[in-house]
Amino acid sequence: MHNSTVNGKMNFTTLYRASGYLFLLPALVLFCIYVIYPAIATLFLSFQIISPFGDRAIFVGLKNFIDLYKSVNYHNSLKITGIFVFWTVLMGLPISLLISLFLNTSLKGISFFRTVFFLPLAISPVMAGVIWVFLLNPNIGLLNYLLRVIGFVGPNWRTDPNWALPTVIMVTIWKQLGFNIIIFLAGLQNVPLDLYEAASIDGANSWKKFIRITIPMISPTILFLTITAIIQSFESFGSIDVLTSGGPANATNVLVYSLYKDAFVNFRTGYASAQAYVIFIILLLITMFQFKFMGKKVHYQ
């Protein structure tokens, strides 16, 4: 069975193994065309300066990367993205978990609430942005109207540089709620009930049960959602484009938005390609770090 050929003819094992590759082939081809090739092509592009319409290109080595390293605007983007991702994940996940705990009960009409909280997932980021543009209008928007009713003057959420980033963070958390809640719910419902029963018998209160049973048992879910939330926040684009267009004064110019502007508004393909690689490397490092350190704390059944 170890020889791939018997008497010069292929035997069953070889055919079996080869058929595996055949099944993989379509996916592999698509993967090469749409993922591998663009990734490598982008690398080549990042070493060039290219004219807006692509008719001229000159090779400049690492100039684009060096310019990024020196660029104050890019440092700002890095900082903004860090703050954005940090708060979106740090506030978004606990809020989602809380809502999931509530939705995990079997109160009457709970399925209505499950649908309502799931809804943000069903609309596109752009749509979410557009809805919030109306809600956040400083003069005729619902949010400031409600604030006025209780006696506060709401700020210019989208155009005040101090409020733009918090606003975008809030909208992104809202948008990610649906996905996080669904996954948390699934995780919560997989926790064996007899664990809780055993704890009750031992005299544990709700808080102890939460800390000692729930959290450890859903730790794989938490790890998974942390990674996806971080990556999704990093890639956040649609809502930011609609809400603030990266402004005001670069207050919400996250890495992906900066890349978009340089590639598709300013037509600086080479410079944008270099930014794409920086994002790739950052995400790679974050994911490696997460698996290494958080993986240890995760309890798998």
């Binding site: 807006p52 210019n156 402004g247």
Partner: protein, 460 residues
């Protein structure tokens, strides 16, 4: 195959892919030149040409209407209009089309894309078309010369000036009366503008009324510089050569932006962000009493006001004694290379039709964009249109009294969009942090100059 040779096979495949890639990605720097035999052609069979336009809403409707009219007026040419997104996405789409050789016959590009289009070498200039197809009757001698100059370089006219506009001052006459200002004496200088804004600001209730609110757009800075007969960039505004320096720290720009900063600092001005529509909302809803905005938004603004208050319009304010004029914004139409001669001729014929007074008038009265020929202007004047709609004349008067100088010709920059973005970032920073105007402008200037240098590297 065992694991070893499987890995080897995969690595070989990857190496081949990687080795082949450079040939597809590195440009060879050459531009294809199709040999052209300059003979006129006869359009025998009906021909279809594609027209990409980049405006929506009421303006998009006007264009659709005009195209339908053109198609109905003759039976040889059918223009197929297609809305390809707003100005920036449209230019993107055009860029990709050029690279994949799937360009339309006619493309609409905004003012900031002009140098990019010329440098792209992907268009056939209007003058070249006129020379190729002399049987098409098209004449630009009746056009407002500055409009044609905007889209011309080194004596060659590249595109059709299509929707042209300039900013004007919109003001709320009722509010003027309420605070004791003369509604027929709008502010003309920066000092008067600032003083009016102060009077018009009312912070007595939670619903603050601001003196003014206008969009944070570099175009307004460029206009202010031109009204003071200043250049925005060197090389005669980028027309006698590629720009290498932006004049953001010179008097004209500094004066305007300082006035803007002071108005914001004192609370007479509220920022609507960069969106023209948000500025218009502030004005039409009464949150602000004055607005600097394009005349192209006139029809829309009137509709939004809906008769709630009396609108006033006036020339863009400028320092006392300034001798300059306004610059143009808007868009132009470009004929793209790489199409058969009959299609090029058809495109030229459509363009010729658009230059007729009737078409100019249709466009202008439905939007606020200028009629660009003297014939159209005379017709509108004689029919009494401007008497009944004086606001539509405000910007036109501004344009007609502008002298033709390099300053009023408007800046032409290969990376105009990005330059505008940097200027706008600077203004946002000044307004948000009350930073020193000259310091911030110097910082932005450094960034822009570096950008211009990088762009010019392409053309050494």
């Amino acid at each position: 195959m065992n694991a070893q040779s499987q890995k080897r096979l995969l690595s070989i495949i990857l190496v081949i892919i990687i080795a082949l890639l450079p040939s597809t990605v590195f440009g060879n720097g050459k531009v294809e030149v199709t040999p052209v035999v300059q003979t006129d052609v006869e359009i025998v069979e009906p021909v279809e040409i594609t027209f990409w336009y980049a405006v929506s809403g009421a303006l998009g409707d006007v264009i659709q209407k005009m195209v339908t009219e053109f198609n109905a007026s003759q039976d040889k040419i059918t223009v197929v209009p297609e809305y390809v997104g707003e100005y920036v996405p449209a230019l993107n789409k055009l860029r990709l089309a050029i690279q994949s050789k799937t360009t339309p016959n006619i493309a609409m590009t905004y003012d900031a894309g002009t140098r990019t289009m010329v440098d792209s070498n992907a268009t056939v200039s209007v003058d070249a078309l006129k020379a190729k197809y002399p049987s098409v009757k098209i004449d630009f001698s009746d056009y407002i010369q500055s409009a044609v100059n905007y889209y011309s370089f080194e004596g060659e006219q590249f595109a059709l000036p299509f929707c042209l506009s300039s900013p004007i001052l919109y003001y709320n006459k009722d509010r003027f009366r309420e605070v004791g200002l003369d509604p027929d004496q709008p502010p003309k200088t920066y000092e008067e503008f600032l003083a009016a804004a102060e009077k018009l600001t009312d912070k007595s209730s939670a619903r603050v009324k601001y003196g003014a609110s206008w969009a944070i757009r570099s175009w307004l800075v460029e206009t202010s510089v031109a009204t003071q007969n200043g250049l925005f960039v060197d090389q005669e505004n980028g027309r006698s050569g590629r720009a290498t320096e932006v004049f953001l720290t010179e008097d004209p720009a500094v004066k305007f932006i300082s006035m803007w900063a002071e108005m914001a600092k004192k609370g007479y001005y509220v920022s609507p962000g960069r969106n023209w529509a948000d500025a218009r909302n502030n004005f039409a809803s009464g949150v602000s009493a004055m607005m600097l905005q394009s005349t192209a938004g006139l029809a829309r603004t009137l509709a939004d006001i809906g008769g709630r208050f009396e609108l006033g319009t006036a020339s863009f304010p400028k320092p006392a004694g300034s001798e300059g004029g306004v610059v143009y914004g808007g868009n132009g139409l470009w004929v793209m290379k790489g199409h058969p001669a009959v299609e090029e001729k058809a495109a030229l014929m459509f363009i010729a039709w658009l230059t007729q007074p009737k078409q100019q008038i249709t466009l202008s009265v439905n939007t606020g964009y200028y009629p660009l020929t003297n014939a159209a202007i005379s017709e509108l004047t004689e029919s009494g249109y401007y008497k009944e709609n004086p606001h539509f004349y405000t910007a036109l008067e501004q344009a007609l009294t502008s002298k033709s100088t390099p300053a009023t010709a408007g800046a032409v920059i290969g990376v105009h969009t990005e330059v505008r973005n940097i200027v706008e970032n600077g203004i946002e920073e000044i307004i948000a942090t009350n930073a020193d105007v000259k310091t911030v402008l110097a910082k932005q200037k450094a960034e822009i100059d570096a950008l211009l240098a990088e762009y010019n590297l392409m053309f050494k």
